[in-house]
């Protein structure tokens, strides 16, 4: 279990869908975004393997909190979003205001 509650994290800026068939449960709208670990949720078999009937190792799962107005440039200040994200999609991040990581758009 790599991340404690309160840890600032970034969702990996990666789009495996562009490289071939896969099943990813981390929504597109979160890729590259900064959030905060709300709490760990336990470990569950990796859906990316389950979807293709491959042996699926258990991966730690976290509830990660995001600030609403930064998500889509809309939404009310103070509103939040909570999403279940698997550990291999999380990186440690500097505490931030939730802007997407800089870089070329996928």
């Amino acid at each position: 279990m790599r991340f404690a509650a309160g840890t600032p994290v970034r969702i990996r800026r990666d789009f495996p869908e562009l490289r071939g068939p896969c099943h990813i449960r981390t929504p597109h709208y979160l890729r590259g975004l900064d959030g905060t670990v709300e709490r760990p949720l336990g470990a569950y078999p990796n859906p990316e393997d389950l979807a293709f009937a491959r042996p699926a190792a258990r991966v730690p799962l976290y509830h990660v909190r995001f600030e609403q107005p930064k998500l889509f440039g809309e939404g009310a200040r103070g509103d939040t979003l909570l999403v279940e994200v698997f550990e291999h999609w999380l990186e440690e991040a500097e505490p931030s205001d939730g802007r997407r990581a800089a870089g070329p758009q996928a």
Binding site: R25, P27, L41, P47, G75, L81, L82
Partner: protein, 194 residues
């Protein structure tokens, strides 16, 4: 409401189930157990769980700490079911549940999801304009309330534990359960005493 399945669909289902049984992947008993479990599930179960949590602090703690165990305590078999997570509303915090990727829904304690929950419109708009979505149900949150949208992307199935409305202080569990509608357990509405 969706139309009932037509004869071609039923014939296809029959051939499919026969093939699954022939391959030893499923038994008739397993199918009937699952049908019975599905038929028993309804929002009334979730409503009773909330009403009990409102009146019994120990059950409330169980519901928030281990939703699946709380469901089992109400007679719901959660064996083989995904874990149930319960989102605690409070003064200043209200939750709204959605599954943007598909339509994950706490069926064991709420029954079938309504068609609007599964719609592309709800799934897209709930994360993007949740207050606009609530307004379409006539739901306006009290001033200063944080709206927290919960996107069910993995193993958990989520249900809201709403705030008990004022004016219900001397109500029994049955009367309380009656105001905990399906919509209040998803979070598009708030329970009302009046």
């Amino acid at each position: 409401m969706a139309a009932p399945p037509g004869p071609e669909s039923l014939a296809l289902l029959d051939r499919f189930v026969t093939a699954l049984k022939a391959k030893g992947l499923v038994t008739e008993e397993e199918i009937e157990t699952q049908i019975a479990r599905t038929d028993r599930a309804s929002p009334e179960i979730g409503a009773r769980m909330v009403a009990r949590a409102w009146t019994d602090p120990d059950y409330r703690a169980l519901l928030l700490g281990d939703g699946s165990a709380a469901a089992e305590r109400m007679g719901v078999s959660m064996a083989g079911m995904p874990p149930l997570g319960v989102l605690e509303d409070s003064e200043g915090l209200h939750h709204l549940v959605v599954c943007t990727l598909c339509s994950c829904y706490p069926r064991a304690v709420l029954g079938y999801p309504p068609h609007w929950y599964k719609s592309a419109a709800y799934r897209a708009r709930a994360v993007r304009d949740p207050r606009g979505v609530l307004a379409e149900w006539g739901t306006v949150l009290p001033q200063g309330t944080e709206l927290r949208v919960v996107d069910s992307t993995a193993d958990y199935r989520w249900m809201v534990l709403p705030v008990r409305p004022a004016g219900t202080e001397d109500w029994d569990e049955a009367r309380l359960a009656a105001i905990v509608t399906r919509d209040t357990l998803v979070g598009v509405a708030l329970p009302r005493a009046g």
